[in-house]
Amino acid sequence: MSGESSSEGSGASSGEGKGVTMRVEVDVPKCVASGQCVMIAPDVFDQREEDGIVVLLDEQPAPELHADVRESAVVCPAAAIRVIEK
């Protein structure tokens, strides 16, 4: 997964208090198709129709989605979601 973090300290992302950019990684072979992430953050995650495996829709979600994405990462029963915040 490419790790270009959009210009550090751009200050564009306010509202979360920390002014952070977020990058999401999913470890697809770990995913067990539970759908928990999709129920919590449907704008960021989806599931493949045929087997329910996670599809990452948005690698760098907007600040208003950050709380839900963090929640998804904690809840994911396969620990397949990693959130990197700068």
Partner: protein
Amino acid sequence: MVGASAAGLAAVETLRREGYEGTLTLIGDEPYHPYDRPPLSKQILGGQWEPDRVPLRAPADLDALGLELRLGVAATGLDLAGRTVALADGSRVPYDGLVIATGVRPRRLPGDGGERAHVLRTLDDALALRDRLGAGRRLAVVGAGFLGAEAAAVARGLGAEVTLLEPAPVPLAPAVGERVGRMLAQAHHDHGVDLRTGVAVAEVADGGVRLTDGTLFEADEVLVAIGSVPNTDWLEGSGLTLGDGLECDEYSAAAPGVYGAGDVARWHNPLFGTAMRIEHRTNATEQGMAVARNLLRPDERRPFAPVPYFWSDQYDVRIQAHGYLRGHEEVAVVEGEPEERKFLAVYRSGDRVAGVLAVGMPPKAVRTWRQAVATRAAWRDAVGELLPEGA
């Protein structure tokens, strides 16, 4: 925080994420960083993964939480009045808030099988069993619950000759219903696992297992998978109520400032109006998060009212279930056919939809039915007429 696994980790992570800046001590008797158990009976036992795949968090992410990690040391006692936890090394950890997440351990059979007798709960258990399996080895699995069935399937994939010994006539019938249980029995059969039902095992013996009728069933290795016992021994005499696990209220509280989470905790789930103790991976996390929030915000405590979820992989069948299926009174297959291993079944308790179980179905269909469980939809509206008792 006592118990350094899924529930304990979720609790500390949530506390930090939601602004708690004080000291957080995570106590666990296993020597490892928190790791994940479901892969133990799947990818680890099967050899697809090495142990480096099971930690629940990357070391850097764990570091970032700023925890006092006390690993490899067991909690041995609790002083509720003095608000301290006693540890096996003689030290004491004071607390303002306590989360008890000590999980369960495998129930064992009498008898001594030495190195040939296995249980499957920890990483070390999984590696020990994996080391002794292989083509032609005879493995007897005692108990055809989810754990026994998964391990049987994986061992078979490694070429072992596997026999599953199960006292009930249909495996998992109380959990998932007869028809789904029969489908799982058929899957064992199709893959060359010898499932023997109506067979009760008395003890692990030299050379195999002794059945209750006295005969010896020969095996090279024995895996005992007959359920589990909550790890509450260290709480004996503490004043907390211990029954089938640590008894908690609807907030998952066991006493003021003391919460239970994960496999060890039995609590009242208001969504289903009943007390339950759930041994599922997702529940451990969700309950860990919920108790962290209740600890952090004592004035805005919320009842813990989840729709339980579990999955299980057996051969090429992945079962997904939402809700509380135990004690169901009726099962209706609403889509597909179990015999084709592509179906969706819903479960009724009283006049409500209590659960949904799916194999090979599109995720949207499953989520729709989960919603019916979450809203406790009336069976009559969602499915149709109630069948007469016993159907």
